[in-house]
Structures are given as structure tokens and as C-alpha cells.
Assembly symmetry: C2
Homo-oligomer: 476 residues x 2
């Protein structure tokens, strides 16, 4: 062929980073702009985000949370009230110093996260245990001044939701923190077909200002880990810094116990790197903006277009269906919609119509099935379900294959070198070992999983008594 | 009573501005924060915005538009490419000058609107007439450095959608501009029960960088006008500044014709000031987060709570229903939900239950109706419909009463003084008259309505030949 049907993308095994860049641009998820480190989210990318957002928003509301909206700007003095928080975020915020032609008396930060804004508001509106719990969430954009950026994975600005809640007791805050982590895990596993490990971050890796941070970690195709969402038990640190007090059931003034938790556009990057292949994107059916793309064959022949449009009409009651009846060649279309990762292609030409059948082509396996028009809805439902399950299962197997156990530091290094993936190893709890592991291997502690295993009783680094089993990996 | 059931709000006729502030805070729509000119949108306020957003998003998608997301920041050099645009916006933008500890080589503007970002992207992705039209929209926050601010009406940051489209011809762009203005008018009239006047802005009042600006103008309770949404035909100004060209059907390079149009959180302010009264907010049923509030009477009596919860369950299939079975007094509850403007209150006590009836209380008229449990759904449906229509009709009548005709400048001043509202008057088309009218009366030209009337043939200001009939008013 003089020109390939679609422009070639770099092979995954050849150069995974370049493959990723090729996929996000050629599948038309994003475009670059002259704004350093920011991305334009194109219609297909944004439709993915809308589907994720709708599903998560539903879960957030069903668990009793209410949406609110806080200001974009934070006065410097407000951000400084909680010492750990400002220390963690100051190096990576954007500063507004002028409004119009006028220099501001106080600089403003473009919010990197909104704990302090919520804290200030909570102080105003919480007075008694009757006002608790307060379960708020906001959908917004935030900015972190990152040096190196990549679409979805790490951008100057990203979109997210941030939940912020206040509770009477430490136990209730703890329960909320884990409950929302579970919601995140479910949306990853059930909706995006991304298997995750749930666990707690070490002190070193926890959120600036939190008491405990919990995380879900997933493994990308190249064996690197991606922190996919976090949920923080904030304790009463912000409450004390901001004076958020309530009259408790015994008539005593107490500080509230808080949580915060966030889920971002980053997850689209995870979806790409977990499911994608050398033909491009692979989108799980539940999140797919288009689940089925109909491509008519020999569409100039009598009856073909009528047939496929009627079919589209009928299937649209139940599925998200597209059709491409443009004058481009079928081969071009096949490649295009494979690049975009549309779960199922449906082909119909004169011979199919004659035999009262259509051809289904699965994006995940490439499998072709001739199926009868009788009961087509049911067939498609179950094939989409199979694709969803297969993607999850494939990702889970891949993670298992790339997860190993290291009992010694030598094993640790060797496995990281040879296998690239999660390494499960015991740890003494001392940050010096964490630092040393990072320095010598560039792997970081991803989490202390909820499901602890006892792999011996010695720290993989120093050999002293081990306290936790930790997942380690190189990470995005 | 020792303490009024709800804290008193200022009377509308006494001090309308204070009434407004009282309503937005006491109905818990917003809270203030330490961020000057920004508001916290509380759950009830945000639920209103979500309903408006869902309705508008549906209309935007049904008319063939796709959602995208552009960066928050605009490099100074990008904003400067279109001369009228930068001249209009430069005085009112927020400038980011530092990222972390580092001073930026080029300052960034926090987007006040996104024409230039879309223009840069369109240049990348449009090459041929086959790529047209491009019909994009984004939901986002924008910042304008306003001196005096009021919740919803004028805030440093506000939420909105901004549509940005590209077309082959001037006619197509014109058609799109008016089509989207019509969508805005419909959502105001049908959904928010706010009557609007549709028309064109004068040259002086048009958007910085537009060829024509169209607007919908509504009249508030106090007789001041509010620009409720605008739609701009941008012509090829941005296309030329950014080089957005396409190969047309005759194989020639041409510049695209563009439009942009926006609808903001400001509309919530309009809803408050059009429908509200001395008891607080009045929310039209279609946009109301809670359409019906159930208040049990003598709820300690046997059977009452069972009865009302069962009723809530049943009504929730069809309506958005709340219930307040707290231990507060019914009188407190009545006042609270009147303050929040909930369209319909439903009371049920032992006597009602015995007689198989409930009491409906309309928020708009205060009318009480004892209605049978038989066919309750249908009764409520039609009462809600009546409330929606009544609110629109009341607002329309109020506008008619406050709209007058002026043939001379003396009449103009007198009517503005005595009636406060829209003044319809002829205008010569010269900006000097527009300036003079503003200077001497503080009324501005709101629009040249699509429905022109011939009120004589002389300009109300200079007496020269008139070109347009114009709506004038003092405005928010």
C-alpha cells in the first residue's frame, strides 16, 4: 500500500513512552497547546472523562455526599495556616501577583488542592454535633507546577473531584476514608477494568497535612506502577489550625475529624497504559463513549445503507453506537476505530444481509464472529460483557506475572532489573531504608497493602525486624 | 414570639440590594470566603447550577456540539494576537507571574474567556471544508478582575459554558449565533421562567473581538436589567489573527467564520431577583433541586411518620421530594422551606390521614389546598405546572408594567426616574448619543431587539434621523 491506512504508531515494546504519546494524539484524545505542560482534552478524551465523572458522581451522591464549589484562588496567608500542608505544596504552586494593572497586596495561589478553603468554610458552618457529618465534594480544576509533564499522567493543570468531610470521631473519619477508597477501587475494577492494590502510604509518601493516606495502585503494561487515587484521614490537624470546633453530645467543645480524597483525569492515562496495544487504544465497554462502530461493506449496493442505519437505530436503544458511512475505504475505517479502541466493530454487507447476519469484530482479541440478526441485542450484550471481563482478567494476569517477592536486597535489585513490576518485600518501617531503596533502585514504596503477607521477618534492606509487607515499584 | 422562626430578611422595597444579600446567604446558596470577590457555592446553590447545567448540556449536545476542555492559562503573547480582544480584556485579567519559586519568562493570564485557545487549536485541526463545521463547547471556570462584586451577579471567578464554533460561510456562522441565542432564550423562559428580550448589542456594547453580539436581556424585580447571556458572531477576525484556514469546495484557501456564546452562574442571580419575594427565594419547579417538601404535622402521633415516609417513597418516582421529620416545630420548617423557595409544601397530620387527604401549600401564591390522596400524583403534576406558568406570567407582566416608550429625552429621564425599567426609544446609531444617555441617566443600551417597532423617526437623544429602536435600562 502506498500509504498505510492509519499513520503508524511506535511499537509498545520498542519505545513505550513514544507509544503512549502516539496513542493519545492519534486516537485524538488530546492536543498540545502553547501553554507549557497543559493539554487540550479533545472530544473523544473528554467524552471518556464525562463517562467516568458521571459514574463517580453517582457513587459520591449515593453515599450521601453533596457537591459544592470553592474559589480557584487561595490567599497566601490562608495556605500557610497548616504548616505541613504549605511545606508540601509551596514548591509546586502557581502564583497570581497582579489583577489587571494593579499589584496585589497579597499574592494568591491557584489552588493545588482545596483543604484550606474547605477548612475556612467548615469553621463558619459547623457548630454542633448536629451539623455533622458534613460530606462535601467538588468537581474542579487544580494546578501544580510540575517540571516534566505528560498528557493525563502529569500535567500542570488537571481535572478531578476532591471530597472533603468532617466527622465527630476519629473512627468515623477512618471509616469514611476507607469507604471512599473502596469506591475508587470499584470504579477502577468494575468500570475501567483496572485491577488495583489497596493499601496505606508510608509516612514519607503520605499527603502533606494528613494523618494517614490510603492509595490504590495499579500496574501499567511496562511494569511501572501508577498511583490511581488517594484517600486521606486528615485527623484534626486542619481543624486545629483553623479552629473548626463543635459542641459534642456531652456539651464539650471538640475539634472535628476530617478526610479528603481525590480522583483525577490521570486515570485515563492508566486506562491507556493498562489496556492499549500495538494497534492503539483499547477502551473497556462500560466506559466507552462509543461501544459499537458499524461499518457498512459495499455500501453503494442496494439496501446496505438502509440496513445499517436501521440497525443503528435499533441498537441505540441499548448501546452507544456509531456508524461510519463516509466514502473512506473499509480498511481505513477498521484501522481508525481500532486506533480509537472501540470495543466492538459491526460489519454488514450484501452477503451478510442476504444471510440475515452481521459480523462482529472484537477489539480486545481481534476475533471475528458471524452472528444471526435474531437475538442480536443479546449477543452483543454478552460479547461486550465478555470483553469487559477479559480486559480485567488480562490486566490482572499481567500484574500477577509482574509481581514478585524479594527476601534480600540482592533479589530485590535483580527482580526489578529482570521483571519490572511490583516487588513485595518486608520493611522495618524506617524511612532511611525507604530512602536507600529509592536511591539505589529508583523504586519507591507504593503501599503497605491491606492484605498483608508474612514474607519472612526481616527488612529487605537493613535486615532488622520487619514491620510491614510493602509493594515497591518504579512509578509514574 | 421570642425569636422569629427564621432570621428576618430585609424587605425588598426597603433595600433591594440588602434583600438580595440576605436571600443568597440565608437560603444557603453561597458563603463568603477570604478570597476577595469569590464565592463559595453551597450545596443548595450548586444543585441549582447542576440542574441548569444538565438541561443546557443536553440542548448543546442535541444541537450537535461536542464538549472539550482547554487550559486554564493563556500565555500573554497568545492573548495579544487579536488586537480588539486584548484591548478589551487586559484591564480585567489575573496574571500568574511565578511557578513555585521561579519567575516565569512569560506571564500567564488566567483565562477570562477562551477564544484564543480555541483559535490556536482550530488552526491545528482544520484543513479542509470536510473538517467543518467544528462545533465545540466547554464547561469551565473563568476569572475577570472585577472591582465591585456580588454573589452570582458579578464575581471574580464564575462558572460557565463557552461554545466555540467554526464554519465555512458567514451565513452559517450567523445562523449558529442566533440558534444558540434561541437555546439560551428557551432555557430562560421554559426552564427558569424568566422572560427575555432578544436583540443585538450596539457596537459600543459588543464583545471585544466580535463582529456582532446578540444578547438576551431580562428585567429584575427592582426594574434594573440583567444581561442574561450573549452569543457572538466573530466573523473572521480571530481566523485571520491565528491563520485558521481551510481549503474550500472550490479548492481555494479561506478563513473560517467563527462564533462563541456563553451562559453563566449569573443566571442564578437573575432567577433570585425575578422570582424572589419578602419571604425569600422562589424557585421555579423545573429547576428546583427539591420540588416538594413534606412536613409531617403532630408527627409523634401514631401512623403519621409511616404515612409521610410512604408518601415520599411513592412521590419520589416522579418528583424531587424532601422530607423534614426533625424535632423542629412545623412553623420553623414552613419558614425555612419558604426561605429556600421550594415550590410546594405538603403537610399531613392525623386528621388529614383520617380523611385520606393532604394539604398542599404553593410557594408562589401561599395558597393552601386540601387534596385527596386519590390521584395525588396528577394533582401535584398539574399544580407544579401551574406554578411554573404563573411565575413566568407574573414576571412577564411585571416587565410589561415596567416597560415604557420615550419619544423625547425629557420623557426618557422622567420615565427612568418614575418607573425604573426598560425604556423603548429610537436611536440614530451614533455612539455619542449612547454615551450622552449613559452619562446623564446612567441607563445603557441593552439591545436593539429583533422585534423592532417604529416609535417615530427621531433619535430620542439628538433628534436626528433614527435607525433603530433600542431597549435602554439601568443594568446590573
Amino acid at each position: 500500500m502506498s500509504k498505510k491506512f492509519v499513520e503508524r504508531i511506535t511499537g509498545m515494546e520498542e519505545d513505550f513512552a513514544q507509544w503512549y504519546t502516539d496513542v493519545v494524539t492519534k486516537a485524538e484524545l488530546v492536543d498540545y497547546s502553547s501553554v507549557r505542560g497543559s493539554m487540550i482534552i479533545r472530544p473523544y478524551g473528554y467524552a471518556l472523562w464525562e463517562n467516568i465523572k458521571n459514574e463517580l458522581d453517582r457513587r459520591i451522591k449515593e453515599t450521601g455526599h453533596e457537591n459544592v464549589y470553592m474559589p480557584l484562588f487561595i490567599p497566601e496567608s490562608l495556605l500557610q495556616k497548616e504548616k505541613d500542608h504549605i511545606a508540601g505544596f509551596a514548591p509546586e504552586v502557581a502564583w497570581v501577583t497582579h489583577g489587571g494593572a494593579e499589584k496585589l497586596a497579597e499574592r494568591l495561589v491557584v489552588r493545588p488542592t482545596s483543604e484550606v478553603l474547605f477548612a475556612e468554610h467548615y469553621k463558619n458552618i459547623i457548630h454542633s454535633y448536629r451539623d455533622l457529618p458534613k460530606l462535601y465534594n467538588q468537581w474542579s480544576n487544580v494546578v501544580r507546577w510540575e517540571k516534566t509533564t505528560r498528557p493525563f499522567l502529569r500535567t500542570l493543570e488537571f481535572l478531578w473531584q476532591e471530597g472533603h468531610t468532617c466527622h465527630e470521631t476519629d473512627e468515623q473519619a477512618q471509616e469514611e476514608t476507607v469507604k471512599m477508597l473502596d469506591e475508587y477501587a470499584e470504579i477502577c475494577e468494575k468500570f475501567l477494568a483496572i485491577p488495583v492494590v489497596k493499601g496505606q502510604k508510608t509516612e514519607k509518601e503520605k499527603f502533606a497535612g494528613a494523618k494517614h493516606t490510603y492509595t490504590i495502585e495499579s500496574l501499567m503494561h511496562d511494569g511501572k506502577a501508577l498511583q490511581s487515587a488517594t484517600s486521606h484521614h486528615l485527623g484534626d490537624g486542619f481543624a486545629k489550625a483553623f479552629g473548626i470546633q463543635f459542641l459534642d453530645r456531652d456539651g464539650k467543645q471538640q475539634h472535628v475529624q476530617q478526610t479528603s480524597w481525590g480522583f483525577t483525569t490521570r486515570i485515563i492515562g492508566a486506562m491507556i497504559m493498562v489496556h492499549g496495544d500495538d494497534r492503539g487504544l483499547v477502551v473497556p465497554p462500560r466506559v466507552a463513549p462509543t461501544q459499537i462502530m458499524i461499518v457498512p461493506i459495499a455500501q453503494h449496493k442496494e439496501g446496505v445503507l438502509d440496513f445499517v442505519y436501521e440497525m443503528k437505530e435499533r441498537l441505540s436503544d441499548k448501546f452507544r453506537v456509531g456508524i461510519d458511512a463516509s466514502d473512506k475505504k473499509p480498511g481505513w475505517k477498521f484501522n481508525e476505530y481500532e486506533m480509537k479502541g472501540i470495543p466492538l466493530r459491526l460489519e454488514a454487507g450484501p452477503r451478510d444481509i442476504e444471510q440475515n447476519q452481521v459480523v462482529l469484530v472484537r477489539r480486545d482479541t481481534g476475533e471475528k464472529l458471524s452472528v444471526s440478526m435474531e437475538g442480536l441485542d443479546e449477543t452483543i450484550s454478552s460479547v461486550l460483557e465478555e470483553i469487559q471481563e477479559n480486559l480485567y482478567e488480562k490486566a490482572r494476569k499481567h500484574r500477577e506475572e509482574k509481581t514478585s517477592v524479594a527476601l534480600t536486597f540482592a533479589e530485590f535489585k535483580e527482580q526489578l532489573e529482570n521483571k519490572a513490576g511490583f516487588i513485595k518485600a518486608m520493611w522495618c518501617g524506617d524511612q532511611r531504608c525507604e530512602d536507600k531503596i529509592k536511591e539505589e533502585t529508583s523504586a519507591t514504596s507504593r503501599c503497605m497493602p491491606f492484605e498483608q503477607e508474612k514474607l519472612g521477618d526481616k527488612c529487605v534492606c537493613c535486615g532488622k525486624e520487619a514491620k510491614h509487607m510493602v509493594y515497591w515499584a518504579k512509578a509514574y
